[in-house]
């Protein structure tokens, strides 16, 4: 019996349950188990299935009391909430990669589609030339349309650049996320969980 309680105490410590609360729970459990033993009752009659799995029992008790955060399913809202800054950045890079891929595919399937730009009187590109946008010119690349003259940017090139930038940003983030794990984005902390819980036990 004591071994069971000690295992529970270790689990509560690992979960970050405050010592006074853990001691109180351990004391209550100890006297209950001792009384049951004196009555000739089995541990299963007191602990149910938990008698064979002290760690799960301890986790369930602490969780239902609101002493530790309820475990969340992978891919649930909790993960998104904990890791939303990284997830948002990753989503932006992924979106860039998707747009780039779409442009590359579009250019490959329909020939030489070009991004239309306002005419630049001070510079006229030679046919087939590729513009390298200076920072000040970036806002000018606003309209995506079929360009019938020779002063556009090659859609395939733009798509390739966006695809590379998107992959370069999203792939490392994804690898770090897989390496650290969903729970690694934030430090585990004890808090009172006052959300309504599911019925049952």
């Amino acid at each position: 019996m004591n071994e069971f309680v000690e295992e529970c105490r270790r689990e509560w410590k690992r979960l970050g349950v405050p010592d006074p609360v853990a001691n109180e729970m351990a004391a209550d459990l100890t006297v209950d188990l001792e009384e049951a033993e004196a009555d000739g009752a089995s541990a299963e009659e007191v602990l149910g299935r938990g008698a064979h799995d002290p760690r799960s029992f301890a986790t369930a008790w602490a969780t239902e009391r609101g002493l530790v955060q309820r475990p969340r399913l992978p891919g649930g809202r909790g993960i998104l909430r904990r890791s939303h800054p990284a997830a948002a950045i990753g989503a932006v890079f992924a979106l860039i990669a998707i747009v780039g891929a779409a442009l590359v595919i579009s250019a490959s399937s329909s020939g030489s589609r070009r991004l239309g730009l306002p005419p630049r009187p001070e510079f006229r590109a030679a046919p087939g030339a590729v513009w390298v946008a200076a920072p000040g010119a970036i806002p000018r690349v606003m309209v995506i349309a079929e360009d019938t003259n020779d002063s556009g940017v090659d859609t395939h090139t733009v798509g390739s650049v966006l695809l590379i930038v998107g992959l370069a940003g999203s792939v490392p983030l994804m690898l770090v996320w897989l390496w650290v794990g969903p729970s690694g984005w934030s430090r585990r902390r004890t808090h009172i969980d006052d959300r309504p819980s599911r019925p049952g036990y």
């Binding site: 007191v46 029992f57 369930a60 309504p196 036990y201």
Partner: protein, 117 residues
């Protein structure tokens, strides 16, 4: 797990909180004392989940009040009793249980009559 045991577990899972509130409504009780009261009425939790996490949830939701007191000269125990909200939830839950039981009896009672020797 056999199908019958799984069904029993599912049924108990839905009403064990009401059962605990009911037995502590008879008088404040500590954890193991509630187990004994349930067992005295033929309801064993052997093979089921423990009552302790459930008591923790009832406490967190404000459905029970707790206090510490010695039990028969023994060590201090944590006693539970229904709060005002707990008694309201118990009354509502018992009504729901009776309505569900009556409806199910109408359906399942016929089956029992057909298979009875």
């Amino acid at each position: 797990m056999a199908a019958g045991e799984g069904r029993r577990t599912q049924i108990l899972r839905g009403v064990l909180d009401l059962c605990l509130l009911a037995v502590m409504e008879e008088g404040p009780a500590y954890g193991y004392e509630m187990t004994k009261r349930l067992r005295a009425r033929g309801l064993s939790i052997v093979g089921e989940g423990s009552i302790y996490p459930l008591l923790g949830r009832l406490e967190r939701e404000g459905l029970v009040e707790t206090y510490r007191a010695a039990s028969d000269g023994g060590p201090p125990r944590k006693y539970y009793r229904p709060s005002r909200e707990g008694r309201r939830v118990l009354a509502a839950g018992v009504s729901e249980w009776r309505a569900a039981r009556d409806a199910l009896d109408v359906v399942l009672g016929l089956v029992e009559a057909e298979v009875a020797p």
